[in-house]
């Protein structure tokens, strides 16, 4: 049991480090390291253009989408090599934020279901950050119930074989700066809900698409609503068979960014640092027994997540598939971050209400965390959905009773009053 690289891993790491040291935009490093919650703000530079520049540079040198085949713009690297890249890229990884959805979810779906020509056309610019992709999945009526989507795709009446899309998506990250998208639609409402779906890809410049940013509770706007009015998509841009959209979606969802080893933030190190500077009525907070008891609880959750990640990395390093233990990450980190934010405010007492980064303790980090953390407990699966996933997929417990199973989609109740 050790934390060391194998010789091959060490050699790869050295190669990565050398290249990054020589090529990364070092002038941005400090700003990237202190980047806050949910936004990438760097003084005096345009985040999008530096992100694209860094991605292009990586792609040109063969460091983009490492685990993709070389013919589609990748490197054909192993999973552990990808993790090592991520560790070495460090703060510069934050520049990849706008590409995450495309690389992690859209790309793999295109790779699995598009034609060879399409793959050669779309994947390399996706890998190089020249074209940004988003995914159009969630809808207002279907949050946790993803398959309950209502956006319709109907055959064009002109007999061209094209599809006409009408409906609305929501929670689309980066829709406003994306060039392309994958889109799941309902092509048959007379069959049970998982059976009537069909997946497409399309240009976000297609006529009939309207994008409206969603203002979040914390005042930021990372998500959008996307409206479709008679949007036309050629049948050639269908991914998978008609009616197979749910299966295709699962491919997408299962390819979510490999978060292994990166570890989800709980805010503990920042809290510990605050406690080393702020005073309670019993003296320095970190020496106050009441504070210590709380810190200890969060400390072991934080290290527990870290070492759980290390266990998964070890599996990757041995060429194995990591076990299910990684599914606990967000379920632990989300509520912990919220608890930590509230306690950090408590320690600041009356002045804890001040959120101005220029004035507030720790540059307002905890106030931002307080206002952002409720989203962490919801996005990408609520705490409750995550518990269901652990219970069902890890522990083998039965699925919830499904009243909408085998019911034609258009007969599923849509209102409690119905």
């Amino acid at each position: 049991m050790n934390f060391d690289d194998t010789p091959a891993e060490a050699a790869f790491r050295a190669e990565v480090r050398t290249w990054i040291d020589a090529n990364a935009p070092m002038e941005l490093k400090a700003d990237l390291q202190s980047a806050g919650f949910g936004s990438l703000e760097m003084k005096g530079v345009d985040a999008m253009s530096v992100s694209k520049a860094w991605q292009k540079k990586k792609a040109d040198a063969g460091w983009a989408c490492l685990h993709w085949p070389t013919e589609y713009g990748g490197r054909g690297a192993t999973p552990i090599e990808r993790v090592i890249w991520g560790q070495e890229e460090g703060p510069f990884g934050a520049l990849g934020g706008v590409f995450i959805i495309g690389h992690g979810m859209c790309g793999p779906t295109v790779m699995a279901f598009a034609s060879e020509d399409q793959k050669r056309r779309y994947l390399p610019p996706l890998a190089a950050g020249e074209e940004i992709w988003c995914q159009l999945f969630s809808e207002p009526a279907g949050g946790s119930d993803l398959a309950g989507l209502r956006t319709r795709a109907e055959p064009a009446p002109d007999g061209s074989g094209d599809w006409i899309i009408n409906g609305q998506k929501i929670w689309t990250s980066g829709a406003h700066y994306s060039d392309m998208a994958i889109l799941v639609t309902r092509t048959d409402a007379t069959v049970p809900k998982h059976k009537g779906l069909t997946m497409f890809f399309l240009s976000m410049k297609t006529p009939g698409i309207e994008i409206r940013p969603i203002k979040q509770a914390n005042g930021q706007s990372g998500f959008n609503e996307v409206y479709f009015t008679d949007v036309r998509i050629p049948d050639a841009q269908r991914l998978g068979a008609v009616g197979d959209g749910w299966k295709v979606s699962l491919t997408t969802l299962m390819n979510e960014r490999l978060s292994i080893g990166s570890g989800m933030s709980t805010g503990f190190p920042e809290l510990f640092e605050l406690c080393s500077r702020i005073e309670t009525e019993n003296g320095l907070a970190v020496d106050d027994p009441a504070v210590r008891s709380k810190l200890a609880t969060w400390a072991v959750r934080t290290t527990g997540l870290k070492y759980t990640g290390f266990r998964a990395l070890s599996a990757l390093s041995r060429g194995e598939t990591p076990g299910p233990e990684n599914s606990i990450g967000k379920l632990v980190a989300g509520p912990t971050m919220q608890e930590i934010a509230m306690f950090a405010e408590d320690l600041q007492a009356q002045a804890g209400i001040i959120s101005d980064p220029e004035i507030a303790a720790a540059n307002g980090r905890f106030q931002a965390m307080l206002l952002r953390s409720p989203a962490t407990r919801v996005e990408g699966g609520t705490d409750e959905i995550l518990r269901n996933i652990i219970a069902e997929r890890v522990l083998g417990l039965p699925a919830d009773i499904r009243v909408d199973k085998d019911v034609p989609f258009n007969q599923i109740p849509t209102s409690a009053r119905a």
Partner: protein, 377 residues
């Protein structure tokens, strides 16, 4: 046993609820949240007209001359409506400071104007991040003039006067802390609006550059007076929190009944049902503990200090719990600016801090229980 508000008191609460439903829908809260407007002036004027700003102020000073039970009932409704007005600053703090420690002249000068809503008062206390203890009070008082700064002053932008904690001599203990009444409408006072977690309630930094001030209460007894007033304010704020918690619970319940997923209301899933049941438990315990505080406050019972800490700790827990899980029940929609969930979440966290944090009140509660037990032994 009559551990309940009277029918008249309940009726007063119902009246306030109707008034606030009409004058203070959440759009009114948003109007303050989203603009530079520091408070809702029309609502404030309406509250004055209803007499709600002078409930416990004696009739001789222009108030209604009613009791604290009536004020608790109104506080609950203010909390439920998230009223974006300086009610807590003027009524729970400034008024109480004057009632507890004001001279006859001070009372005569300020109470009628407070009751009429003609002036807004507040309390300026914290100087930096962290628990406010006697040694953190460094703003200095000398020859009737104050020099130094206070931060996170509720309604500091709009208050006409403030009670200010200050240190009149060297040292760092509680006996060196005195209170002053300062008219903020003077050049030696600079106000700087602060950006906070709940912009529906204005806060400011106040800089005093030799500002003229008059003592409030006996010099050197400032800490003891403010502890008394904080206890009273804690009970009144607890009712604000109870009102907020109840409303957040109702919102979550209503959404759970209405929102469909997997072909059924999300409120039919045990995960949601049990989350709501736990919120109900918190809210119920807080209400019952609040009643205990209200009883102690209205009777001036010797249990007041312990009851205040009890009500405070329970209400802070309940409002934070209900507001937080109200977002969770709403899922992604709960995290949009457009839904009202964040208004309650923001307010719950503001109220958790405005009289000092939960940790401090927990410590006070047990210290006071211990003192009672020691005295009894």
């Amino acid at each position: 046993m009559n551990f309940e508000f009277s029918d008249e008191q309940k009726q007063m609460g119902a009246e306030a609820r109707r008034f606030l439903a009409a004058k203070c829908p959440t759009t009114a809260v948003r109007a303050v949240l989203e603009s530079a407007e520091p408070y809702d002036k029309a609502l404030w004027a309406g509250l004055a007209e209803m007499g709600f700003l002078g409930i416990v102020i004696p009739e001789a000073h222009g108030g209604l001359g009613l009791g604290y039970l009536e004020l608790c009932v109104i506080a609950e409704e203010m909390g439920r409506a998230l009223a974006p007005v300086p009610f807590s600053s003027s009524v729970f703090l400034a008024t109480e400071f004057l009632l507890v420690a004001g001279s006859d002249a001070q009372k005569s000068t300020w109470l009628p104007k407070l009751a009429a809503g003609e002036v807004i008062g507040t309390f300026a206390h914290a100087e930096r991040a962290g628990a406010v203890t006697p040694k953190t009070i460094q703003l200095s008082a000398s020859e009737g003039r104050l020099t130094g700064a206070k931060t996170a002053v509720a309604d500091g932008e709009i208050a006409d006067f403030a009670i200010v904690s200050a240190r009149a001599g060297p040292g760092s203990d509680a006996r060196g802390v005195s209170l002053y009444l300062v008219d903020l409408r003077q050049d030696a006072v600079t106000r700087t609006t602060l950006q906070t977690i709940d912009p529906s309630r204005g806060h400011a930094r106040l800089d005093f550059a030799g500002a003229v001030a008059e003592p409030l209460g006996v010099p050197g007894e400032g800490w003891s007076i403010l502890e008394q007033v904080f206890d009273r304010a804690a009970i009144l704020t607890a009712f604000e929190q109870i009102g907020g918690a109840d409303r957040a619970l109702e919102m979550a319940r209503d959404y759970a009944l209405e929102r469909m997923a997997f072909g059924r209301p999300i409120g039919s899933f045990q995960a949601i049902k049990h989350m709501l049941a736990d919120m109900y438990v918190s809210a119920t315990l807080a209400r019952s503990n609040g009643y205990y505080g209200a009883w102690a406050l209205s009777t001036g019972a010797s249990e007041l200090a312990e009851a205040a800490a009890t009500a405070r700790v329970s209400a802070t827990q309940a409002f934070q719990h209900c507001a937080k899980n109200n977002i969770q029940v709403h899922g992604g929609m709960g995290f949009t600016w457009a839904f009202d969930c964040h208004l309650f979440y923001r307010r719950s966290n503001l109220l958790a801090l405005n009289l000092g944090g939960q940790s401090q009140w927990e410590d006070k509660l047990i210290a006071r229980m211990r003192a009672r037990n020691t005295a009894a032994a």
